[in-house]
């Protein structure tokens, strides 16, 4: 009979093979190896329970088997392990994490077997993480993100229609252009809503005259989110060649990205006929850079002795014609900051009159905005 260590080693060998298969872009093989890794780790855990059951090995093997079951999408098995774990004399912290896992499993099971169909003009957004319960979430976690998605969809529609980038958007639902409906949906272990654009509203929306146009906009948006989620910034440059649109896209996506804890993933789903497209947006906010520079830029920066500075103060003034804002610091000193095209309306304006922390590049006396966050 194999020992616990031998079983665990075999589990990790299969886990490694799964990683290799993913590198070779063989998702099917990777899933099969993950399933085998799970089987081995589950056996290691079961055998360890019979032989000893001592900590910390018991908890580590249980967590490991559970994680492998989740990765292999064996949600029923994961649920059984959580149930078994909750009957054991584990630490309160570990039990609490198992309860969180059960919520996550319910959400995954729902996604795996979902029977609903979305219309081509609909985009479903689900959020999951430690700050999300069954249909319960902190207000700003969801509505800030919905607003960002709404803006991304409309910017994408403008770009696809080959309209030049313009800062000002008609953001009222009363306007023809920016109309969308919000449909709430109960989804286990997450907070989920569907955004519906254009077609079902009484008035004609010039940006979304039909399902074909709307689905093209949604497809384009999802493809670009997939690119940034996998750090393919060069590919994003090809997909959105216009710099203002690209800067706007990166900034909005960065601001709606998961924080990695309260919201671990933001899932975006669309349907085309019987097929669904599902994107698990997991790249954390901290890894976003609104204005990605090239190596050449870095060299130039050094030559021109530019420096990055941080400013904290009240955002007290904005001039859309000159792309400039003013920040009043605690000594009541006003700092004028130039805002690159693509950021003023969608990223900076929502913080007007608020206290903000600004990252800016200082070159001589000129400050150019790099990032802005509320304090």
């Amino acid at each position: 009979m194999e020992t616990v260590k031998e079983l665990h080693d075999r589990a990790m060998e299969f886990n490694e093979k799964a990683i290799f298969s993913l590198k070779d872009k063989d998702k099917t093989a990777s899933d099969e190896f993950l399933e085998k890794a799970f089987e081995m780790e589950k056996r290691a855990f079961s055998q360890f329970l019979k032989e000893s059951g001592k900590e910390p090995t018991r908890s580590i093997l249980l967590k490991s088997a559970l994680n492998l079951a989740m990765q292999a999408k064996l949600y029923d098995e994961a649920e059984k392990l959580c149930g078994l774990g909750l009957t054991l004399n584990l630490s309160p912290k570990f039990k609490s994490s198992l309860k969180q896992s059960l919520q996550d499993i319910s959400f995954r099971q729902y996604l795996a077997i979902r029977s609903f169909q979305l219309d081509p003009n609909e985009l479903q957004i689900s959020l999951s993480g430690s700050g999300v319960g069954n249909g319960i979430i902190h207000y700003h976690e969801v509505f800030d993100r919905i607003e960002k998605v709404r803006r991304l969809v409309f910017r994408t529609a403008h770009r696809i229609k080959k309209l030049p980038y313009r800062e000002k958007l008609h953001t009222s639902n009363k306007s023809d252009e920016f109309a969308c409906s919000l449909i709430a949906q109960p989804v286990p272990g997450s907070f989920s809503v569907t955004l519906r654009f254009g077609a079902d509203l009484s008035h004609k929306n010039p940006l979304f005259p039909d399902f074909d146009t709307t689905s093209r906009v949604i497809d384009d948006l999802l493809q670009n989110i997939e690119l940034i989620n996998s750090d393919q910034i060069k590919a994003l440059e090809s997909s959105i060649p216009d710099e203002a649109y690209r800067v706007n896209f990166l900034a909005l996506a960065g601001k709606m990205a998961p924080d990695g804890e309260s919201v671990k993933s933001m899932n975006l789903v669309s349907s085309r006929g019987d097929a669904s497209r599902f994107i698990e947006f997991t790249k954390p906010q901290a890894q976003f850079r609104i204005l990605p520079g090239t190596d050449e830029d870095s060299d130039k920066k050094k030559e021109m002795s530019e420096e990055m500075i941080t400013l904290i103060g009240s955002l007290s003034y904005a001039d859309a014609d000159k792309d400039t804002i003013k920040v009043t610091d605690e000594d009541r000193k006003k700092h004028s900051v130039t805002v690159p095209k693509g950021l003023l309306t969608d990223i900076v304006k929502p913080y007007f009159k608020d206290t903000v922390e600004i990252q800016a590049i200082k070159k001589g006396k000129k400050l150019t905005l790099q990032d802005i966050n509320p304090v």
């Binding site: 616990v4 910390p56 090995t57 490991s64 989740m70 750090d231 990695g260 850079r289 990055m308």
Partner: protein
């Protein structure tokens, strides 16, 4: 602080033979990913890396193969490659600087990536009874919002998930732009 003297050589080529009782295939893969990341940031064999921590020093990075287009293409996903490249550096430091003799790769989501042991640690049954948890991360090129310090902090926070185990935790974050690696030991 003067840490210009290069007091250690990190010979990535050793990964080809397997280290810490990990399979040769896996560690060779890590070696290639690491060289691809360094090459991506225009570093060649012989480049210096700052090994940051309590007692910082410069080390020399060595490898003996060309990072050609074929290799670059097979490691096209730089986000993934950065994590594996950072793993190569972390494991080499774990063996050569910290004296560990084996590493168990752990499954994703445990709060740590490897379980490190020295000779004589633990027993055959309670396999995670004695050893060190190692959490690894990589940054291709540091930015103002994505710094080594911030990543180290987030990885230390991540170790909390598995703090129940009462095992010592180590964090190693490598940045390939400078390049620099920070290895922290949490008691």
């Amino acid at each position: 602080m003067n840490h210009s003297k290069r007091s250690m050589i990190i010979d990535l080529q050793k990964l080809e033979e397997g280290i810490l009782q990990l399979s040769k295939g896996y560690t060779s893969f890590l070696m290639e990913a690491c060289a691809v990341c360094l090459d991506h940031q225009n570093h060649k064999s012989g480049a210096s890396i700052l090994v940051d921590g309590n007692d910082p020093f410069e080390a020399e990075l060595k490898w003996a193969f060309e990072v050609d287009d074929e290799l670059k293409n097979s490691y096209g996903d730089m986000q993934e490659s950065t994590e594996y490249g950072a793993t190569a550096i972390a494991l080499m430091l774990a063996e050569e600087k910290h004296g560990f003799s084996s590493a168990e790769r752990m499954s994703k989501g445990l709060g740590f990536d490897y379980f490190l042991k020295k000779d004589g640690d633990g027993d055959e049954t309670n396999i995670f009874d004695a050893g060190v948890r190692l959490e690894i991360s990589g940054i291709l090129e540091e930015t103002d919002n994505n710094t080594v310090e911030r990543r180290v902090k987030s990885k230390i926070d991540q170790l909390i998930i598995s703090d129940d185990s009462n095992l010592e935790g180590h964090v190693c974050v490598t940045e390939f732009g400078r390049p620099r690696t920070k290895y922290i030991e949490q008691q």
